[in-house]
């Protein structure tokens, strides 16, 4: 059976298996658990004390708690990834055996945070060598050991970028003469025009 929230693939067996675990909680508590899981997905921090309070009524062991967080994380992030609307998600989850009240609660949380989730996923998408900071300085060279009167402006650019393979920050400093800088600026403006046309 193909499911849209699984990217038009079969639902993984472990997700199906954990539906019964989720059904052991009351639908109200499950909705509150969804809120915590969404906070975790958005990097806002998950409150494990609240989670254990929510799951204590259903007498979840630590394995059950981990499983329910994992399955909710999967459902919410996968649905956001494949841009599934809340009604389709609701009918697919019910097909998998999640009770109606639980499904309604989950889908309401999903709908509320749908765009925030997608924004977060867009942010963490693969980007290589992210530019983190740019600093610049304009100097005017008066004199040097080679020539008494130099009188030339230069730009110094400090670029801090992320190394693609090690994810550590690398700093590069370049100094550019006026002519070269003019060329650079023109080319970058052309790129900017192209980027604006695509926005």
């Amino acid at each position: 059976m193909r499911f849209r929230f699984c990217g038009d693939l079969d639902c993984p067996d472990w997700v199906l298996a954990e539906m019964s675990t989720l059904a052991r909680m009351s639908s109200v508590k499950m909705k509150l658990l969804c809120v915590q899981v969404i906070k975790d997905l958005l990097d806002e921090g998950i409150d494990y004390d609240k989670v254990s309070k929510l799951t204590s009524d259903a007498k979840f062991e630590s394995g059950d708690i981990k499983a329910s967080i994992a399955v909710l994380s999967f459902i919410l992030s996968s649905a956001a990834k494949h841009d599934v609307d809340s009604d389709s998600l609701s009918s697919e989850l019910q097909q998998l055996g999640l009770p109606k009240e639980h499904t309604t609660g989950l889908c309401k949380s999903y709908e509320d945070k749908h765009s925030a989730l997608q924004e977060k996923l867009r942010e963490i998408s693969l980007r290589l060598g992210r530019l983190e900071a740019v600093n610049w300085r304009v100097d005017y060279t008066l004199s040097s050991s080679e020539l008494k009167q130099v009188n030339e402006p230069t730009v110094q650019l400090k670029l801090q970028a992320q190394d693609p393979e090690t994810d550590s920050t690398q700093t590069t400093v370049v100094s550019i003469t006026a002519d070269k800088f003019r060329v650079l600026l023109t080319e970058l403006k052309q790129a900017q025009t192209m980027m604006n046309a695509l926005q």
Partner: protein
């Protein structure tokens, strides 16, 4: 298959026949502990004094015992073969029985420890990917060039590393079909192989089909 013990080894193990069976039992326990956690030189200081023997013989005896156990576990020799191999040492029946019990009880665990000593390659941790279309570059405008960028995360013990790879979609789809074929045959092979083989998946990337992303920043 029989273990062939060198003369030196037999001499070292000879220490065990000179002491009480209780001491042999204790030595056995210590030898297994050493195999699990590494040897502890303090034992070599305290024990000889208690037993009133030369300290070197305690160390040799323990090391001889450890070697006997690892060799037997390495080859998974049968009970009869173990008994026959130990026969040449001329131990009493009680002692031989003690050593046999030691071997049988700890065999599985020692084999697990030995399996971790084999060299290993970095293995797959996760894969991030991205599909892009190149529209323009400084030398050429109005292009339509799709590329797939992959970041392969590898793990080697505690060390994580990442490799960035880039390819165009036709080559990517060829790689994917060959990977899925190979993963199917790999699954069939591991099902057919004996249960004692390691079940860690080996990386199936074929580096001839993708080229590294150094031209990304052109």
């Amino acid at each position: 298959m029989l273990l062939v013990l060198s003369e030196e080894h037999k001499e070292h193990l000879g220490f065990l026949s000179e002491v009480d069976p209780a001491v042999v039992g204790e030595s056995g326990r210590i030898a297994v502990e050493f195999l699990k956690k590494g040897s502890n030189p303090k034992i070599y200081e305290g024990a000889p004094r208690k037993l009133n023997v030369w300290s070197g013989s305690v160390q040799h005896g323990l090391e001889g015992l450890m070697y006997l156990l690892t060799e037997s576990c390495k080859l998974t020799i049968s009970e009869e073969d173990f008994q026959d191999s130990v026969l040449v040492l001329g131990f009493s029946e009680e002692l031989t029985e003690l050593l046999l019990q030691l071997y049988l009880e700890n065999r599985k665990e020692i084999r697990q420890i030995l399996s971790k000593l084999a060299p290993s390659l970095p293995h797959y941790h996760s894969l991030e990917w991205r599909l892009d279309v190149q529209l323009s570059s400084r030398p050429l405008r109005h292009q339509l060039k799709p590329t797939v960028t992959l970041k392969l995360h590898l793990e080697d013990g505690a060390r994580r590393s990442a490799r960035v790879l880039q390819t165009d979609p036709p080559r990517c789809s060829i790689s994917l079909t060959s990977w899925s074929e190979r993963s199917q045959s790999s699954r069939a092979a591991t099902a057919a192989a004996s249960s004692t083989t390691s079940n860690r998946s080996t990386p199936l990337y074929d580096t001839t089909a993708v080229h590294s992303g150094s031209d990304l920043f052109a």
